[in-house]
């Protein structure tokens, strides 16, 4: 009994990657994924191999949005889901090309959770970053930020179509591509 208690009640000690907010197990059959909680009950689940957001969902009231051990399943109301295989593409002078994706890691600090990928097209490599604020914005359902580093002039990084269709800027504008060096905030209103 002592053992069970010690296993179950190990106190949270302020370390990053608290599993109740950041879950690095598999998600809904994706072996390489991360689920990040925003606010009290909204979860964003990432496909690390595609560098895309797979699903956003709201946990049932008073319950966790995840169930299971390593084979974690999302539980709750789906707010966004990308079941396509579409990925990022590099646009330049009217041409688009597919990209090889390599997951680089993640960081939790200063109220947000950041994911990083290296995208490669031939010998060209650049970095995609995504930030999930861990607190909710009362004005929107869910929000996230993205930016790309290392693009050359005239190049842009095109979002998967399902993402640009569902996510908008705070002003309601669609975002079809990333360019420049600024963080771009997109939301589901």
């Amino acid at each position: 009994m002592v053992l069970l208690l010690s296993l179950c009640t190990r106190a949270a000690d302020g370390l990053p990657f608290d599993r109740s907010a950041i879950n690095r197990y598999s998600l809904d059959g994706l072996p390489r994924s991360i689920s990040v909680r925003q606010g009290k009950d909204v979860w964003l689940g990432y496909d690390l191999e595609r560098a895309t957001l797979r699903k956003v969902w709201r946990a049932p009231r008073g319950k966790s949005g995840l169930t299971g051990g390593f084979t974690t399943r999302s539980v709750g109301k789906t707010l966004f889901e990308d079941k396509s295989d579409a990925g990022w593409s590099l646009a330049k002078t009217g041409q688009t090309s597919g990209l090889k994706v390599r997951y680089l890691g993640c960081t939790q600090r200063d109220g947000h959770f950041e994911l990083r990928w290296e995208l490669q097209q031939a010998s060209r490599k650049f970095r995609l970053k995504e930030r999930v604020p861990t607190t909710a914005d009362d004005q929107v359902t869910v929000w996230r930020e993205m930016k790309v580093e290392g693009l050359m002039a005239g190049e842009s990084l095109q979002l998967p179509a399902v993402v640009s269709a569902a996510w908008k800027t705070a002003g309601g504008r669609s975002v079809k591509a990333l360019a420049g060096k600024q963080w771009i905030r997109i939301i589901i209103p």
Binding site: L3, S6, D18, P31, G105, C106
Partner: protein, 741 residues
């Protein structure tokens, strides 16, 4: 693995003429079977993949290539391939459907014979399958260019088992006399999955629960719970930990990760993905096992999936590999393949890297592997084949026979210089057999091989990961899956082990010679002791891997000990073994009656030596024994059979089934015999009541999936291929009699 296309020859097979001596028929009725087979006259109806052993021994008078064909009927398609093995050369056979029950013949492959000892020919059905229709099998036909080259041979008689006690034929039960052990668990049962030192006195370990824990070894109190400090969390089933120049690397479920505390505040805010350039699924049994760093590269092994193997026999590409990842660039190389559950990696002698692997499908025994570039260690499933797959596998440095000295070997580690006579040898933990096993390695003609010795049991929990401090203290951590508190308590935790230097009399090392083996003892033998060859009970065998669980001991036989020669310092005994051949395991038992010059009795008296190479020009010296030394008042070994069942229980059952009612993975045997239990009948898919009598026990050993006791999972491997008929009978009798006490 080069796959053979099924060559179906659509003609009515004419019975081969006995006079046609280019052909050798291996009839179904001629197999030696330990499994569940169904017969229809001369025809074997194969409906179950597990447990059937379809094999023959044949002899050849010369080496040449022969063609093996099968005579069979199979009216409906199978979803998996058969394995055909010929003296260790593997092929797969995709079964083509035949017209109803018409007999057809298919060529299975071309193999090479060798003269001398009998060769094993084995046909292995797919694992884990039970079909509602049979593959009807009548015979194999071997065609050889030379008339009369091949003949059927009788399998050697399995050697009798001498009576056994702890350390002498039976598993040790106590702590090694030269060790002290302190249980450091306190109130917390850490489930330790990776372990390393960060600095000389800071122990780090990862846990199954995903934590990284720090322990200041200088702050460990003389009693009570040590000051464990959790410094990271949220790791995904980490199974390996390595530290290089203060940098921390973890092998998680699906990626190699560096934990980074960039701002130095004591919290690891960044989990850098060093690499994940290999396919993965969500199978529970896919792990990245172990972690060592050599030359700026992280080495670890990825295990195969078991869930999808058990249903479809499939694997994600490159599973079962040792991988090498540059810790800065993430550049990933596949070093070797063919591994199954390689839950341990560590450094061996001369900077070598050693890997352990667990017995099971394609592994007839547990292994200690000397990692070789592009080696293939034999576990395979279905296409696409591993890039290093080949019909003949690279043997391990040392076989660790299942149930005899290992069941789930874990991390290997070199014993430091402070460990007296054992320094430079390797110890290995075990996640089910328990304790620590010791291995002495030597290089013979450029190939590593050696002997495994029982070393110590008697610890409070099992060991998954081990680390030595510079002072020679050994820290050993145990792991458990699942949530059962009693089970976790039995197997998990942290123990500190110290070597005291107390002299202990035991076999220390074994070195192969061209004509036998030299045993080195820790102390000089008593005057005139050790000369009698009858004092050494030696058996030997080869291994055959099968795609079904367990594999085969091949040519398991008693060996002749022609002479025993004691060295002038009486520290070594050379046993002359005329039957030495490569690719076999020799088990040597030494009686408890052997004493040292100062009157000490042996701590253990057995070891297993793996012969990968027989040295060509390194003979041992044979001297005539003093007449007085050959006198024996009574036999060195007894064969009452009384202990056989108990030894079988201890070696094969005790890890999962208690006798006293305490909880383990499987149901306890307490009050089992004669009782009524509810079990799930796999043939009907419904529960039914069964009486636990001899027939039930026997069936549950051979085919455990047939009736699974209510409340337990179907995870026990079938033992049919592992136990001889005599051993099976002895075990069943032991379990029944135990209940009557």
């Amino acid at each position: 693995m080069k796959k053979l296309g099924a060559i179906l020859l659509l003609f009515v097979v004419a019975k081969a003429s006995a006079a046609d001596s280019h052909l050798l028929e291996l009839p179904a009725r001629g197999i030696f079977s330990r499994g569940v087979n169904e017969w229809d006259g001369e025809v074997l109806n194969i409906t179950k993949g597990r447990g059937a052993t379809i094999g023959w021994y044949i002899s050849a008078s010369k080496a040449e290539e022969v063609t093996v064909s099968i005579e069979y009927a199979c009216a409906r398609p199978l979803d998996q391939e058969y394995q055909i093995s010929f003296e260790g050369q593997d092929r797969v056979w995709e079964v083509s459907v035949t017209e109803g029950n018409d007999w057809s013949r298919a060529q299975l492959g071309v193999f090479r014979t060798r003269p001398g000892l009998p060769m094993l020919v084995l046909l292995v059905p797919p694992s884990n399958r039970k079909y509602d229709h049979a593959l009807r099998f009548r015979r194999l036909i071997i065609e050889s260019p030379t008339a009369g080259n091949l003949t059927m041979a009788q399998p050697p008689e399995t050697p009798a088992i001498p009576d056994a006690t702890s350390g002498f034929g039976a598993k040790l039960t106590a702590l090694h006399p030269a060790l002290t052990a302190r249980d450091l668990r306190g109130e917390t049962r850490w489930r330790i999955s990776g372990m390393a030192l960060r600095g000389p006195r800071e122990l780090l370990f990862t846990t199954w629960d995903g934590d990284l824990v720090s322990l200041d070894l200088d702050a460990v109190p003389k009693s009570g719970t040590p000051p464990f400090r959790r410094i990271a969390q949220g790791l995904s089933e980490p199974m390996g930990l390595a530290v290089s120049k203060g940098r921390i690397f973890v092998t998680e479920k699906n990626q190699a990760t560096e934990l980074i505390d960039a701002d130095g505040d004591g919290a690891f805010e960044t989990y850098r993905c060093v690499a994940h350039e290999w396919p993965a699924t969500i199978d529970y049994h896919e792990y990245l096992f172990g972690a060592v760093i050599h030359d700026s590269h992280l080495y670890f092994a990825n295990s195969v999936a078991m869930g999808i193997r058990n249903t479809h026999n499939r694997q994600a590409y490159l599973r079962g590999s040792v991988l090498k990842v540059h810790i800065d660039t993430g550049a990933t190389e596949v070093v070797a393949g063919g591994l199954r559950t390689p839950n341990g990696i560590g450094f061996g002698p001369n900077g070598s890297i050693l890997v352990t692997d667990n017995q099971g499908e394609w592994l007839p025994g547990n292994k200690l592997i000397h990692l070789q570039p592009e080696a293939f260690y034999q576990f395979r499933s279905r296409p696409p084949w591993h890039p290093f797959d080949r019909p003949i596998a690279t043997p391990p440095a040392v076989w660790l026979p299942q149930g005899e000295i290992a069941m789930s070997p874990t991390e290997p580690a070199l014993l430091p210089t402070s460990w007296g006579p054992y320094a430079g040898q390797v110890i290995i933990g075990d996640a089910t057999f328990g304790g620590l096993q010791r291995v002495h390695l030597e290089e013979v003609e450029g190939v590593m091989q050696g002997a495994a010795f029982p070393f110590s049991q008697g610890f409070r929990h099992l060991f998954n990961r081990i680390v030595f401090t510079a002072e020679g203290e050994l820290y050993a951590g145990g792991i458990a899956r699942g949530g059962d508190a009693e089970f976790i308590n039995k197997v998990s935790g942290l123990t500190r082990i110290q070597y005291t230097g107390k002299p202990v009399f035991e076999p220390l090392a074994a070195r192969l010679r061209s004509n036998g083996i030299e045993i080195e003892f820790t102390q000089a033998l008593a005057r005139n002791a050790g000369w009698n060859p009858a004092a050494y009970y030696v058996t030997q065998w080869a291994y055959q891997a099968t795609q079904t669980y367990g594999g085969q001991k091949v040519r398991h036989r008693r060996s002749e000990v022609r002479s025993a020669t004691v060295s002038t310092d009486r520290r070594r005994v050379f046993l002359e073994l005329p039957d030495l051949i490569a690719n076999e395991v020799i088990r040597i038992r030494i009686p408890q009656s052997l004493t040292s010059a100062n009157g000490q009795t042996l701590w253990t008296g057995e070891f297993w030596y793996t012969v990968n190479r027989v040295p060509a020009n390194r003979p041992g010296t044979v001297n005539p024994a003093p007449a007085i030394a050959l006198a024996a008042a009574e036999p060195f070994f007894h064969f009452s059979g009384k202990n056989t069942g108990n030894v079988m229980y201890q070696n094969f059952c005790a890890a999962c089934h208690s006798l006293d009612g305490s909880k383990r993975i499987g149901p306890s045997f307490r009050n089992l015999a004669g009782s009524t239990r509810t079990a799930l009948d796999s043939s009907t898919g419904t529960p039914r009541e069964i009486i636990a009598d001899a027939a039930y026990l026997r069936q549950s050993i051979i085919e455990p999936a047939a009736l699974v006791v209510d409340g337990y999972e179907n995870i026990m491997p079938p033992m049919a291929g592992l136990l001889s008929e005599a051993q099976l009978t002895a075990l069943t009798r032991f379990l029944l009699n135990t209940q009557k006490k």
